[in-house]
């Protein structure tokens, strides 16, 4: 029986704690008697028969949806959209859960004699997936059956001829998604709900949308009012997506939503000690930790990155549900909470976190300084329900090397954003007003997004907006071990050690602040009372 997450009060007997530090780790001691550590729950047991569970979900849909076989008929246009490379993290061992679900859907489609099938990677403005990445997601069988004939492809949100404008919400938000998906007799969306932010109407209204549509919720005002992004009912981003979902439904787009949840079995042996509590590390775990951290410290960045990005998570499916979007998503969120929720009493003055080597936008890529900001302030800061873990005006201390390094193919617009925009201002409101349009409509970025493997020109702006709520909330942000030049460009402070960082925090939160350490990954969701 997996143990639930818990909050450890740090005392003198508490061992040094593991802090992720990019492609490496640090062991840090927190001050006794005023610090606490939030440990994630242990991974839930996997579904014993995943294929049978998927089939059961397709035959017994939730909400007012009919079973999938009843929605399939010969001569129909069937479109299957699926989440892109940003999920799950790290990428999971084969078979990917999308492959399992898509094969089950296609098997039913084959039984019904459906010939016209398209499979679309729902990228929105993310980079295109490579053949190897698509093969990993959908499996070789599906890839070889559909990709050579052009029926499995990455979506292109800048291909205006193949985008369909479906109307506006009652708030004037335009809804535009991939035409093939909008005009199909049935759109099956295959999702992975790694965190509570994913899924629901966000799958289609964001995943298949264009800049024209996305700008209505991917903006500073919406993200400052998403408290948090992981709590749908208190997230303006989600409220906007749900309004767009109504437009999709009213315009006749027929959606069969399939959502899956994974357990937090994040690292395979011998790196599974990264998921354990420090005092439970065995002699083997300690040996692996010492060996890997010492050797990583002497390994060139590029090689260390390759080693870490080759790790495939042994994630296993904990639930699968299908049918009508709202009913499915409610059940999905219940399952995400079952895995990730940890009750936490009250806020703290200082929140500490170690940032790992991977986030949603640097799979097989480099975590550049903007992505460090997004992972810390956009994602980890938002891993709460109720109130933020840190009080308003408090300090966030993150640990990451934050190198001044960018992937020139994946993140070309990030380079210019870092050089041209952040050197001018770090204020998200000003950035949005003065710079967004120019990047979003830049023809060169469009070209790279459409034909290369580049994130869209506007994407670095969204990364910055993702942290807008945290920037507004926090009194100071300090990065431990970060490259000072890059950290200063982000508008944060750089510290060499955690003690230095706590010292630097003292003029904001006093000499004896309360400290909370978020011991993630594996991911958790703090339910702050």
């Amino acid at each position: 029986m997996p143990r639930p997450g818990f909050v450890l009060d740090v005392d003198r007997s508490t061992p040094p704690l593991l802090f992720w530090h990019g492609e490496g780790f640090r062991l840090e001691r927190l001050p006794a008697d005023r610090s606490r550590v939030i440990y994630p729950p242990e991974p839930l047991d996997a579904l014993p028969h995943p294929s049978a569970a998927i089939r059961h979900a397709l035959l017994n849909p939730l909400g007012d949806s009919k079973p999938l076989p009843e929605l399939l008929f010969p001569g129909m246009r069937l479109t299957i959209a699926f989440d892109d490379i940003s999920l799950p993290l790290p990428p999971m061992q084969r078979p990917d859960v999308r492959q399992r679900v898509i094969e089950a859907v296609l098997d039913m489609a084959a039984e019904a004699g459906v010939d016209d099938v398209h499979l679309i990677a729902a990228l929105a403005l993310h980079r295109r997936m490579t053949e190897a990445e698509l093969r990993h997601a959908v499996g070789d069988r599906v890839y070889d059956a559909f990709a050579p004939s052009g029926h499995l492809y990455n979506m292109d949100a800048e291909d205006t001829e193949n985008m369909a404008y479906l109307g506006t919400t009652d708030q004037g938000e335009e809804v535009e998604i991939v035409k093939r998906a909008a005009e199909s007799d049935l759109l099956v969306y295959v999702n992975i709900n790694l965190v509570a932010m994913d899924g629901g109407w966000k799958s289609t209204a964001t995943g298949l949308a264009s800049y024209r549509s996305l700008r209505h919720h991917h903006n500073v005002r919406t993200l400052q009012h998403s408290r948090s992004l992981m709590d749908r009912h208190n997230s303006a981003l989600h409220t906007s997506n749900w309004r767009m979902g109504k437009v999709l439904r009213d315009s006749g787009v027929k959606i069969f939503q399939i959502e899956t949840t994974l357990n937090t079995d994040t690292f395979p042996p011998p790196f599974d000690f990264l998921m354990k509590r420090e005092w439970e590390w065995s002699a083997k775990d300690r040996t692996v930790f010492l060996g890997s951290s010492k050797s990583l410290a002497r390994t060139p960045n590029r090689l260390a990155r390759q080693i870490f990005h080759s790790i495939k998570a042994p994630h296993a499916m904990t639930s699968v549900q299908a049918g009508e979007v709202d009913a499915v998503h409610d059940e999905t969120i219940r399952n995400v909470h079952r895995q990730q929720l940890v009750e936490v009493e009250g806020q703290t003055d200082v929140l500490t976190m170690g940032l790992p080597y991977i986030g949603p936008y640097n799979v097989n890529s480099i975590m550049n300084p903007i992505l460090v900001m997004c992972l810390g302030l956009g994602y980890f800061f938002n891993l709460y329900r109720g109130k933020p873990l840190v009080r308003e005006g408090g300090v966030l201390i993150m640990s990451h090397p934050t190198p001044w390094e960018f992937h020139p193919v994946h993140h070309p617009s990030y380079i210019d954003f870092f050089e041209q925009v952040l050197s001018e201002t770090t204020d998200p409101v000003r950035i949005e007003a003065e710079f967004e349009k120019g990047f979003a409509e830049d023809e060169w970025y469009r070209h790279l997004y459409r034909t290369s493997y580049a994130y869209h020109g506007v994407h670095p702006f969204y990364m910055w907006y993702w942290g807008a709520h945290a920037l507004q909330h926090l009194g100071r942000v300090i990065i431990v071990g970060g490259e000072p030049r890059a950290v200063h460009r982000l508008g944060f402070m750089a510290a060499s050690t955690l003690n230095d960082a706590l010292e630097m925090a003292s003029d904001v939160v006093g000499r004896t602040p309360t400290i909370t350490h978020l011991h993630a990954p594996p991911l958790l969701l703090a339910d702050v009372k």
Binding site: A46, P48, H49, P50, S51, Q93, R94, P95, Q99, L106, D107, A110, E111, G113, D115, V117, G139, D140, R141, V142, D144, A145, F146, P148, A316
Partner: protein
């Protein structure tokens, strides 16, 4: 006058059998009677492991360039450990074209079954002499299977090994294909699956006939494709018998063959329509027409696109 050495009397020589008594048949040490237990001792297993990883595997990589597909289908069975923590044994059932099939499959079967698998081999062929019997038992971990008649002993030996946690590799066609097309599947694999309640992994081999077909004495290098299918559990609830399960295994291998020739979705469409091409090939009256039809099978090779001037219209 001929001089004869005096014949030593009993008990210095064996006593003659009285004419009225049925003579005792000498115990055979070959064929189905060959004892293979020694081949699963620690020393023999280590030898076999070394042989597989240093000789058989590399040789197969050079000769057969194997393209292994569908290994992800085995993940669920791999994860389903038994109550005692042991690996779930399975029966790998493959079509059979060539002597290369067995070493190729043995070097393609993934962990955790790779080094705990035995082969059901024809008693009248692989266990004909002491030498071939020893070689088959050591190198392939083969046990003799009677293919000319139903043998209780063969089945008992195989079932006992499966119950002990060993996985089995068997070719349900009973022998290599005489003309490149498949032969009807016999019920042995299905019988054992039902008896031991273990899954059967259908496997399709493509291309081994080009390396060394039946009757050929020399090896030719050729690319091969090994497709593993979804494990099939005996349908105990519906009371499925071995004949029906054998037919199900044959259909699964035929679907894998169709997938190798076309693509997965086309194969699924045909399977649901009941239009999967049979492994046994067309019912043509003449042998040449069956041989001719063989050319339609095999993976579609990508044609190199012709270089053309760009279309400037």
């Amino acid at each position: 006058m001929k001089l004869r050495a005096p014949k030593l009397p009993f008990p210095f020589t064996a006593a003659p059998t009285p004419a009225s008594v049925e003579p005792v048949r000498a115990k055979k040490h070959t064929g189905v009677d060959y004892e293979t237990e020694w081949a699963r001792t620690f020393g023999a297993r280590i030898t076999r492991l070394a042989l597989l990883e240093t000789v058989i595997g590399p040789t197969m990589r050079v000769i057969a360039s194997p393209d292994r597909r569908g290994l992800d289908q085995l993940r669920d069975v791999e994860r389903a450990t038994l109550p005692d923590g042991a690996t779930q044994p399975v029966i790998f059932a493959a079509n059979h074209h060539s002597h290369v099939d067995t070493p190729l499959l043995l070097s393609s079967i993934p962990e955790p079954w790779r080094h705990k698998v035995f082969v059901g081999a024809a008693a009248d062929y692989f266990f004909k002499t002491r030498l071939t019997s020893t070689a088959s038992a050591l190198a392939l971990n083969a046990i003799p299977i009677e293919r000319t008649r139903v043998s209780r002993r063969s089945a008992d030996d195989a079932a006992e090994l499966i119950d002990d946690g060993w996985s089995m590799l068997i070719f349900p066609e009973g022998g290599r294909s005489p003309d490149g097309w498949g032969q009807p599947f016999r019920g042995g694999a299905a019988y054992l699956a039902i008896r031991c309640n273990v899954p059967v992994v259908p496997v399709h081999l493509e291309g081994t006939g080009r390396i060394m077909r039946k009757g050929s004495k020399r090896l030719r290098r050729s690319a091969t494709r090994i497709s593993f299918g979804e494990p099939l559990w005996p349908d105990v609830e519906s009371g499925e018998d071995s004949r029906r399960m054998a037919a199900r295994i044959e259909r699964a291998v035929a679907a894998l063959a169709d997938e190798a020739s076309n693509d997965w979705y086309t194969a699924r469409l045909r399977a649901h329509r009941g239009a999967t091409p049979a492994l046994s090939g067309p019912d043509a009256p003449s042998a040449w027409r069956r041989a001719w039809a063989l050319g339609d099978r095999g993976p579609k090779r990508r044609q190199a696109s012709m270089r053309r001037w760009p279309d400037l219209d």
